[in-house]
Assembly symmetry: C2
Homo-oligomer: 211 residues x 2
Amino acid sequence: MRRKGILVVVSGFSGAGKGTLMKNLIKNYDNYALSVSMTTRSPREGEENGKEYFFVSKEAFEEKVKQDGLVEYACYCDNYYGTPREYVETQLGMGKDVILEIEIQGALKVKEKFPAALLLFVMPPSAKQLKQRLAGRGTETPEVIEKRMRRAVEEARGIESYDYILINDDLEICTKELHSIVSAAHNSIDRNEEFINNMRQELNVLVKGEK
Amino acid sequence: MRRKGILVVVSGFSGAGKGTLMKNLIKNYDNYALSVSMTTRSPREGEENGKEYFFVSKEAFEEKVKQDGLVEYACYCDNYYGTPREYVETQLGMGKDVILEIEIQGALKVKEKFPAALLLFVMPPSAKQLKQRLAGRGTETPEVIEKRMRRAVEEARGIESYDYILINDDLEICTKELHSIVSAAHNSIDRNEEFINNMRQELNVLVKGEK
């Protein structure tokens, strides 16, 4: 039985530690493929094309949209961000579980197109810790921290659209929980219809053969 | 955050290896409690009261039913079998994940009373292997084997009432999969409403506090 890949959408508050979690997941398990988004924003220092993002022109992005080449896309601060469809479908076809790290609007669009997608929401153990983590980065002004906290309030309204939450307190535990959620999904009845139907046919043949 | 126990119903074809799987689960993880059924049938050689079953009289069983003291019960071959409610509720309250090993009719009754229960169906990798395992026990007549195979055909019709399947090929892998399914369920949105609502309240307080 060839195992089909599962599309996994990971969202969560800024400061919840999604990036570190994804890196640890990829390091610990070999069944995952991390989707790289496409964007029209300029690369920041140290960012590489194809690693953090695929950096493209506005024209190239809009052409991609026309060709239905994106699973989802959105516009923030005058820049486009989107998920290239080809990579996702190729990896799923190869049996990889594909992770998309995107925000809630994108997550809901993915769920519409891929109803079998798993939607995960990552949170810190408490709001207080979220604020501490955002402040602890030391790179953000109080205004940016407040903006992110306000955004967290907004995003928290949409959590019920997700299937699972992950509380990122201990990185290793959280990584294991993420992996358990995806593993469990491979055992769901919906994802095993073919196996179940084959079993029924085989049983029928064996029982009839005995008569 | 105190973790609440999950009620896990395990069914599956006779010969699928449920008993061995349960033993291995209990051996490998400490968050499970295995429910012991109550029956009016006589103990077989080597069976102990309170271990394989609670052996009671027909009168005692019917009294238990009257008191609503059973989660589910059924009658086979003129004997009653049922799941005592008290043990289940006590263990769930202590945060244990409680395993009920019961057949499909019982499973559906449990799901009615406990809609949050997880229903798992254990199968061998193929129908052929099921037959080989039943024959391999060496203790059953061909008639009994055929009867069990026919029963498997019947039971296979109801698999879609379950949430997950487990394919018991390698015992250790299957045990891990079972554990992943239950672990994942602890992260479902439904089971974390309280945490999510607390997070929302905390976020609101922190954001308002900043004004």
